[in-house]
Symmetry: C2
Subunit: 217 residues, 2 copies
Amino acid sequence: MPASTPLRSPRRDATENRESLLAAARVVFNRNPSASLEAVAAEAGLSRRSVYGHFASRDDLLVELVTMGARRVASALESVTHPDPLVRLALIASRLWREVEGVRAMAIVAVRGPLAHHTAGALAAIRANVRSAITDGQADGSMRSDLPVERLARLVEDTALVVLEDSTEHPLSARDGDRLVMLMTLAVVGLGWRDAGSVIDGRAELAHTWPAEGDQP
Amino acid sequence: MPASTPLRSPRRDATENRESLLAAARVVFNRNPSASLEAVAAEAGLSRRSVYGHFASRDDLLVELVTMGARRVASALESVTHPDPLVRLALIASRLWREVEGVRAMAIVAVRGPLAHHTAGALAAIRANVRSAITDGQADGSMRSDLPVERLARLVEDTALVVLEDSTEHPLSARDGDRLVMLMTLAVVGLGWRDAGSVIDGRAELAHTWPAEGDQP
DNA sequence: CGTAACTTGCACAGCTTTGTGCAAGTTATT
DNA sequence: AATAACTTGCACAAAGCTGTGCAAGTTACG
């Protein structure tokens, strides 16, 4: 562990190892959120003992991992904006999918588990964005008005997680997953499936552009 | 523990204690699915040691608890039938809500956790019923046809669990929960919110009849 | 090169939990 | 009242984990 006041600057390989540990933790905890530090260290090619050279405790590692992830997602979504609240919501869903795909299990832990508190700050902006989209949508009549905003916002969020979870066990191409998460989000806020489909198909912003390598057709 | 070949019949209080343990486990595990046997025994007013007089292992207790629950739910839902697939699906959702409300966390463990295997048998009938409703609904055009039956069925199931989860943290009157789980189910299969509302409001079968004691308005 | 920074292995304490064995009690049942 | 059935407390083994101390190595860096 780095001395309290390092006389020399920290070594390069040390910080690399720190990164390795975080990366390993991401992989391992994504497979099994309650895996041991032994497993994480092994994945990183280091010894369990040396984990404590970088993180004071298991919790420390977990918290850092999770807050980093939350910040990453938040920064990827902060730019999302669109006059039409339906499109805005769909955009949020879609971007979220792309960010979180591959870290699904971790994401769920980060949002649901005991560490939710640590991510709440970073995710607050996204949640606010969702709420405002819903408020606008209810105001202009494009979204259901039979449920209060707060509950609807939670249901939207949970539904996105459901799609993530389901696609973990029953894989989906990136393109289909992208579309599905949008469809389900729009369904929750009250759109019939044909309407939801045309909202997506109508806008170039919502077309699945990015990756070409799909898992399954 | 009862002898391998009891010379006398088992005592009444013993079987009562067995029930107490199951009931306690229901409560405790519902609060925290990974609680210890100590906690369960305490809730039942017994000693940890005596748990092993009734169940060979922690897993034994858990499995028995969960399969009992699954059977209970299954038997409550087996009679559900209706010519209109939308109504059939809504009925399933509604009955399920009434059965599972109050055991939400356990239910989620039972369906998702490592014990899912033990409940699969009992729940197969329900799942088949859901699938057939969806198939019928897709055939007559009342449900979305842009997703395969299997995936849609899973999404329906997961969505019901989401409503259960959300209502655990943000309580709902029995009446509202009942309605919400139906609304969300119908939303997933493709109905717009007004259509879903009229499906529910139109039929007396779907009116919330049962309990008068709601939690919150 | 020299030294501080880092890794490692081992040992150890500590915690929590499961599952058993056993002796001593209590209680339902015959 | 006799006795089998049951509960209990205690002690114990075993396992799995976290976190620390320390001595002996490597390795980057100035």
